[in-house]
Symmetry: C2
Subunit: 166 residues, 2 copies
C-alpha cells in the first residue's frame, strides 16, 4: 500500500459483545455495559493520572468491519448518506472512536462503562475527554436531527438489553 501509515496496538478491548450485528452502536446505547481495556505492559506507564478523568476517548481498529464504502445506510436511519457523515464501521480507514466513562484504573486494565466495542478489538490510542476541548455546543447534527429518540434508542442498542461484563 503506497503512503501507508502503520500503527501498532497498545492493548486489546474486552467486552461481552461477540457478534458485530448485536453490538450497540455507541456508548449512549450501551449504558450499564462494562468493558475492559487491557493495556500491554510495555505501555502501562502511559496510564499515569488518567484516573483523574471521568471520560476518555478510545480509538481502535474496527477489525471486523467489511470493505470501506463511500455511501452507507446508517444504523439509525433507512437513508443513504456519505460515509463521513455517519459513524458506520465500513469506512475507508476502519478507525473506531468511542467516548466512554472511565470507572476504574487497575494496574494496566481500564474498566469502563458504555461498551459498544466488539470483544478482541485492537486498541490504538487513549485520550482524555476534556470539558475544555471536547464539550462542544453543536447547532446542527445533520441527518441525526431527523431521528427521534425512541427510534434511535431502539436501533442503537441492537442486541443489547442492559448489563454485561467481559
Amino acid at each position: 500500500m503506497s503512503d501507508s501509515i502503520c500503527f501498532r496496538p497498545i492493548g486489546i478491548i474486552r467486552s461481552c459483545h461477540v457478534k458485530a450485528e448485536e453490538t450497540p452502536i455507541q456508548p449512549a446505547y450501551a449504558k450499564g455495559c462494562l468493558g475492559r481495556a487491557e493495556i500491554f505492559p510495555e505501555f502501562a506507564q502511559g496510564l499515569k493520572d488518567l484516573d483523574g478523568y471521568s471520560h476518555i476517548y478510545l480509538i481502535y481498529h474496527l477489525h471486523q468491519a467489511g470493505p470501506g464504502k463511500l455511501i452507507a445506510r446508517p444504523f439509525l436511519q433507512d437513508v443513504e448518506h456519505g460515509i463521513f457523515s455517519t459513524r458506520s464501521p465500513w469506512r475507508p480507514n476502519p478507525i473506531g472512536l468511542s467516548v466512554v466513562e472511565l470507572v476504574k484504573v487497575d494496574g494496566n486494565n481500564l474498566q469502563f462503562d458504555g461498551a459498544d466495542i466488539l470483544d478482541g478489538t485492537p486498541l490504538l490510542d487513549i485520550k482524555p475527554y476534556s470539558e475544555k476541548f471536547d464539550h462542544i455546543h453543536t447547532t446542527r447534527n445533520g441527518w441525526q436531527d431527523e431521528v427521534d429518540e425512541e427510534t434511535a434508542l431502539k436501533r442503537g442498542q441492537r442486541g443489547y438489553r442492559g448489563g454485561g461484563t467481559p
Copy 2:
C-alpha cells in the same frame, strides 16, 4: 512491524501553521483560524450530507511528532503525566483528534474554523460530531482542572494570535 495496522490518507489538511512549536494545541485556542481539508477525489462521494453538521472530528496522522513517549509534560502544565492522560502528539501511535467547526463544504474541500493542525498533515478519517454521542457532561477533567483559563489560553495558543487562512 508485527501486528501492524495500516491506513491510507483520505486527504491532506491545509493550514497557516508551518512550525509545530507555534501551532495552537487545540481548536479551542485557534478560534478564527481557518483550515482546509482537501479530500482526495476518490473519496469525495463520502462527504455527502456532511454539511448538515456544525462540527466534525478530524482524525489525522501527527506526521511531525517525535518518537512516542510514555511520560510527557503537557503544553498546559509543567508537570509530568502519563501520555494517555494528555493530548501530546508524542504518543506511541501518533494519531491526532480535533473537533472543528465545519464552515463550508465546497466540492472535495472542507473549510473549517479552529485549525490547530500543521499544514500538510495526512487526514485519516472524518466523523460527524454528534450531540447525541459526543456532548458529554464530565465530572472530572484530571490535571486540567488544576490549570486556570488564563494560563491555558496563553499556553494553548502558542504562536497563534488570531486570524489566518491556509
